[in-house]
Amino acid sequence: MNIIHVIGFALMLIGIWGMLTQKNMIKIILGLAIAETGVQLVMVAFGFIKGRTAPILDAAVPVKDAVDMIVDPVPQALVLTAIVIGVAVNALMLTFVIKLYQKKRSLSITEYKDLKW
């Protein structure tokens, strides 16, 4: 357990809290983005090993000692993917908000009841 895990979990909670309580659709998307950042932070922190360095094998990290000198590169690769997909999903969601706003001139989620039962 270290400070990065705590910050990551806290960001997740803040983001989900924002998604649950906010009425403004842009703020809901921001809540999702904050929660996403928290998840990514936690994932990178899971791959961290104390006292080790980045998984780049250059002059400072000889290839034969690499196993004992680098942190786990797999979570970093996964987070790289997650960040890009997060950006794509956020852009698409904001586009939906633009479209909805043009229809009803309101950003409040309570105005949109078409799919509510």
């Binding site: 357990m1 094998l57 196993v67 797999v74 852009a91 904001l94």
Partner: protein, 232 residues
């Protein structure tokens, strides 16, 4: 009010779950199985100094192809949703204010440097922290800066669309070439590995990352363009 209480209770439960998880975390002491394998074999097998790159582009290359597809579909979705018919375009004519002298001069100075930095990031993806997605995002930020400084700035959609589609096609073609010339789909050893640690090494990885960088850069730029056009 009841709704708010319900959210609060939900957050409390989530907090308890995460707290339990946090309390039972044990510190990592050594690499896990897959990571150990990559660390031992990655450099010699693929010739990449940056292990994250060798995982992203080669070992888990199919994931990256899926990631590029997700980004492409999202960009297409944004373009389709924000498409505007010809007659609507003429109706909206707002008076726009020219941006300040400082922003204009700063943009003229910085845009070439930012684009060059983006290219540097994706060309050195196999040697240093960086890669196609990061480089592409930096290039798109140069386009965003141009949009901010010049109210009449327009991107050339034909050129952007052409770059985007061609780099996507060539990325898949390089992947398919890997099946015939090397070990499998998206194998980078279709080109000679070269001298370890130089720019022209690691087989096809610099080529693949250049294509990804161009594709991501143009895609993000067109997302920005679509959103900007619609807010006018």
């Amino acid at each position: 009010m009841i709704k708010k209480m319900f959210s609060f209770i939900l957050i409390i439960f989530l907090f308890l779950i995460l707290f339990e998880l946090l309390n039972n975390l044990t510190e990592n002491k050594k690499l896990s199985g897959v990571a150990k394998e990559y660390a031992e074999r990655g450099a010699a097998e693929l010739g990449t100094a940056n292990l994250v790159t060798s995982i992203v582009v080669t070992y888990r290359g199919l994931d990256t192809l899926g990631e590029v597809s997700v980004l492409f579909i999202a960009a297409t979705g944004v373009a389709v949703l924000l498409r505007r018919r010809k007659d609507e375009e003429i109706l909206i004519q707002k008076v726009k204010r020219q941006s300040s002298e400082i922003l204009q001069t700063g943009t003229d100075l910085l845009v070439p440097i930012i684009i060059m930095f983006g290219v540097y990031i994706f060309i050195n993806g196999h040697l240093s922290p960086g890669g196609g997605f990061q480089g592409g995002a930096v290039i798109a930020s140069a386009v965003l800066l141009s949009f901010l400084s010049d109210i009449n700035y327009k991107i050339n959609h034909t050129v952007f669309g052409l770059i985007e589609s061609l780099s996507g096609v060539f990325y898949v073609l390089i992947g398919v070439l890997g099946i015939f010339l090397a070990g499998g789909f998206l194998d980078n050893r279709i080109l000679p590995l070269g001298e370890y640690g130089t720019i022209l090494s690691a087989g096809a990885i610099p080529l693949i990352y250049t294509l990804i960088g161009l594709k991501v850069g143009t895609e993000l730029a067109s997302i920005i363009d679509n959103m900007k056009r619609d807010s006018e």
